[in-house]
């Protein structure tokens, strides 16, 4: 599998713009790994096709979660081998990581909805914002009687509200 294309990646991006333009992209997955939503605002470099990209992102989160749980020094509970199936909510989880070029914030609801927001590396704590996005998802998607649960979200109203909200926070 190819992770990086031939082009050079700059070591770190310029300082964040005042606000409104620092969100790169968002993913929403359900427990079955279906990508319910993908939106991008600012993504100059693409190395994989969309489906592979979604799969890679989901796989990254899944593995990272079992790694963080495995490494947890505080939990006395019996831990299985790395990669053992976990019960939902079992073990600990991470909420963000930062590289020199971006920051990835992550939240997972007990119902298995995963929300991933990729922003400028200097964005602050986005945990509350992700919860807010979860609330938007509930109001605009889940409560829409004509939306089929588990299917990709095609809802203009949700998209516009989301765009607006992300512009406000990052």
């Amino acid at each position: 599998m190819q992770f990086f294309g031939g082009s050079e990646i700059s070591p770190s991006p310029p300082a964040p713009a005042a606000s409104g333009n620092n969100g790169h992209m968002i993913y929403v997955f359900n427990r079955n790994g279906v990508c319910l939503l993908y939106r991008e605002w600012n993504r100059p470099l693409r190395t994989l096709d969309a489906q592979q990209d979604h799969k890679l992102m989901f796989g990254l989160l899944f593995s990272l979660k079992s790694l963080t749980a495995k490494m947890d020094p505080t939990s006395a509970a019996e831990k299985g081998n790395l990669g053992m199936p976990q019960l939902p909510g079992q073990g600990c989880s991470f909420h963000s990581f930062r590289t020199n070029t971006y920051k990835l914030s992550f939240m997972e609801s007990p119902s298995g909805i995963k929300i991933i927001l990729v922003t400028h590396p200097r964005t602050g704590d986005l945990r509350e914002s992700l919860k807010r996005i979860y609330n938007l998802y509930v109001d605009y998607v889940v409560k829409n009687p004509l939306y089929t649960p588990g299917s990709p979200i095609r809802c203009e109203l949700f998209n516009t509200t989301l765009d607006q909200y992300v512009r406000g926070i990052a």
Partner: protein, 186 residues
């Protein structure tokens, strides 16, 4: 940043938009009435109500989690407690209690004294087998399904059938572990 404390059922109930209780009760009644006309068999109506409840439950869970800030329950006891104290309060405006635990903590009863769905209702002779509130058992089953608990929910007592209370038995069949959903790992 300290985690936000879970909100109580009362606090959420006070904050959500509500509809007139009679409109709600009568709308539900109209649905059951229509199902009886369409399906004719009482057994079929029970099944259909349960299925409708299930479909509601798998959506309702997200609204419940988003509004209540409940993050994670340590065991099934806590789960049923949250359903009774927070869930029922938040969506129906009534509180339920949890009793009759079995020895290994996988089966209990949720008891409802007050149930807004059954105002105005009396079961006629030709509907004696009807579980009028079967939608509720479906909702609980659907919601718990989404948080990876397979359950069986059955009515033990029903005021409409001459009992003094509503009693729902919730039985935990199994916890479903989280697995990597993709088969081929290319």
């Amino acid at each position: 940043m300290p985690p936000v404390a879970p909100r109580s059922g009362d606090a959420i109930f006070a904050n959500v938009e509500r509809v007139n209780a009679e409109l709600f009760t009568l709308t539900y009644g109209a649905i059951v009435r229509q199902l009886l006309t369409d399906l004719e068999e009482v057994e079929e109506v029970n099944k259909q109500l349960d299925q409708m409840g299930y479909n509601i439950g798998i959506r309702l869970i997200d609204e419940f989690l988003a509004k209540s800030n409940v993050s994670r329950c340590n065991d099934f006891k806590e789960t049923t407690d949250v359903i009774a104290k927070v869930g029922f309060k938040m969506f129906l405006g009534v509180t339920a209690s949890v009793t009759n635990w079995d020895a290994d903590g996988t089966c209990c009863s949720i008891v409802l004294e007050d149930n807004p769905l059954v105002d105005f209702v009396e079961l006629p002779d030709n509907c004696q087998g009807l579980y009028y509130c079967n939608i509720l058992s479906g909702v609980i089953r659907g919601a718990l399904d989404m948080v990876s608990m397979k359950t069986e929910v059955t009515w033990l007592r029903d005021v409409l059938r001459g009992d003094d209370l509503f009693e729902l038995q919730v039985k935990l069949l199994k916890h479903v572990p989280e697995e990597y959903p993709y088969k081929d790992d290319e």
